[in-house]
């Protein structure tokens, strides 16, 4: 039936003399036009211009720009701070996938069993998501403070004083400390997304599994987790993008220090562009960051579709 309608519409189009391609083009234009009006000037154009900028040595103000080709990219490959930043971004990806998603999933499963006040509890867990990251950074900065921070006080109180260190000033502890603060802002979001997925779960399937003798862990692993695969994909892609774009919380808590140890690409890019007067190099870092984010997101979605 549909096929016949398509044939009729195609032959009608041919009779009108315009043919199908023109009609399709107009239809594309109508649907894509409004989005393109925003996308082209505010996304595509800056992206192309940033790539163009990355091919020059430029301090951002000089009238002269020196064309250097791909030298800024080569410079990044030989720059140890770039590699520290990239490594930290990868840590962020792993941590933000594991920590908040695992916590969020556990909370969602527990909340799904709550009969009364589920929305209130979900709202409470969601609160950190709506907080400004600058505020989050300041609050966690106090928590980690070696002089007055509650974390070190707690450690000393329970006899773990040897673990009480200057968290944000220690080159090995700074990045994990910021990541914990970052994860705190994301787990509530994960919980709400998983909770929504759990609401669409087929209860009969779980009951059947229970009758068949499947324990809670087995039901969780074999039924609940596979049923949440769409949510998992969404959150992983968001985690990847968010982890590579992370800037504000790092900037507020350590500015990438000490000695660049907690630097991520975005903070390093900002420093190179606006504090070090290397806008061309900063642009190259931005392009590399965009390529990594796009590549990782596409790979993730391709993997998901293959499954």
């Amino acid at each position: 039936m549909t096929e016949r309608l398509d044939q009729q519409s195609a032959s009608a189009a041919r009779r009108r003399g315009g043919g199908r391609p023109l009609g399709t083009a107009i239809r594309y234009l109508i649907f894509l036009g409004p989005a393109a009006l925003l996308y082209v000037p505010f996304v595509l154009k800056p992206l192309i211009e940033t790539f163009g900028l990355s091919l020059f040595a430029w301090n951002g103000v000089s009238a002269e720009r020196t064309f250097v080709g791909l030298a800024n990219y080569a410079r990044a490959l030989g720059d140890p701070i770039f590699w520290i930043s990239l490594r930290n971004n990868l840590y962020w990806v792993v941590t933000s996938i594991v920590l908040p998603m695992a916590t969020g999933l556990v909370i969602a499963v527990l909340l799904s069993a709550v009969r009364r006040g589920q929305r209130i509890y979900a709202g409470i867990f969601f609160t950190p998501v709506v907080l400004n990251l600058i505020i989050v950074g300041l609050v966690w900065g106090i928590i980690y403070n070696p002089l007055i921070g509650p974390l070190n006080r707690l450690l000393r109180a329970v006899g773990l004083g040897s673990l009480a260190i200057g968290w944000l000033g220690d080159r090995y502890a700074a990045t994990p400390a910021i990541m914990v603060a970052g994860a705190w802002t994301f787990f509530g979001f994960c919980a709400v997304i998983f909770l929504q997925g759990l609401r669409t779960l087929d209860r009969e399937q779980i009951e059947a599994a229970t009758i068949d003798g499947a324990g809670p862990f087995r039901r969780f692993r074999k039924i609940i987790v596979p049923a949440l695969s769409d949510q998992v994909t969404l959150l992983i892609v968001m985690s990847i993008i968010g982890s590579f774009k992370v800037f504000d919380i790092v900037y507020v808590m350590t500015k990438g220090g000490p000695d660049h140890a907690s630097e991520v690409i975005a903070t390093y890019m900002y420093w190179q562009s606006f504090m070090n007067g290397s806008l061309g190099y900063g642009a190259a870092l931005a392009v590399m960051l965009t390529a990594v984010v796009a590549g990782a997101s596409l790979a993730m979605m391709a993997l998901r579709e293959r499954d």
Binding site: P146, L147, G166, W167, G169, T254, P258
Partner: protein, 442 residues
Amino acid sequence: MGISLFKTGLLASALLSVALTTGPSLAATTVLNVWDQFFSEEPNKLMNEFVAEFQKAHPGVEIKRNVLDTDSIRATLPAALTAGQGPDLFYYDAGPAFLGPLVEAGLVADLTQEYAARGWDKSLVDWPVERVTYGNKIWGVPNEIEYTNVYVDLAVLDQLGMKDKLVADKDHPELLTLKSLDDFKAILEASKAKGIVPIAFGNRDPGRGGHLFSYFLTLTAGKDLVDKILFGDGRWDDPKVIDAWKLYKDYSTAGYYPPSPNAISYDEGNALFFNGAAATNITGTWLVGDIMGQVADPSKIDFFLLPSVSADLPLSAAAGIGSTFAVAEKSPNKQLALDFLDFIMSKDAGKRWLKEANIVPPIKDIDIKGLDLPPMMQRVVEGATLPLSYNLDVVMPAEWNDAMKTGTQSLLDGSSTPEDVAARMEQAWEKAKAEGRIWKAH
């Protein structure tokens, strides 16, 4: 005919309404856009007063202030000026990494002639003006002399029985100093023994460590060696530079800084001192305003200057101007901007900078008698007349600053040695020098 008359009437009405609505406002108001960094309470209040008074004296002039913190103005001003959307007048870092590129790009007005025309060449102190001089031309008007010093809690010092260590300088009796650095060490040791933090110090933002380094370099090497490095054939891996780093590191090893200074912010470090938990605080005269405003009893706070390592070096400190006023080359209101600068850099205004904002303006011969300045502020004014050296971060290129600032952190966590840091600074300096990105006043 009737229609034509109607059209004519309509046109006349339209023209009249346009003239009535837009005409007067165009003629009446000239807007002077000013971007500054006076976000602290007292300087901000004073700037607002200056603006109001200038507007009152210049009918038809409106001054629009955009108050930004240092990072924000660094991130936005160059792009704004390049795009022709920036301010007419701005208050910006004077160094070769900041004002320097704007000067080279032709975005800043050359004020050399104005100095002669407006008498600034005679009314302003020479060395601050030199800090805004590139290639023999003057590009800014500095408004603040600031230098490093050691604040001391007199109550704590008394408690330690160390008050007699403070002595008046032989050449500048109004200024307090110590007989030797050993006396400073004695104060620090006594503080440590009493469980009081000897030096309040937070280096999470390593600019603070940079101030300590600049100060210690003044003590070990003096201004002459720094001049030799900046303008001659001196090197940043000179043994005296390494000595300065060793002094910085030794104080850490001896436990004179609070635990984990790299994890403590500048404000948190200052709070230790303000609350009486630390005996001393090595920072700069820019903190006087905060001390007056935040310490419950400011009269118990005073400052002294550290004696140099060698007796043949004069009493000194690391000094700078922080930021400078500059006029945008493309500004259509240059003369108005300069008039405003003239107004806020007059001797009368200078007294108000001192009295109301705790800022020492680089204006010569301000008579401070009758201003009723607190004793500490009087000492600050006196100290500004010393042969001061350089607060280095302001006059150095960005990558050198990065090597120096990260060095202050890596020395504290033991991942670098003084020799490593000095070598990295020299390497960064040579690179910037080869690329012509260093400060060349003349």
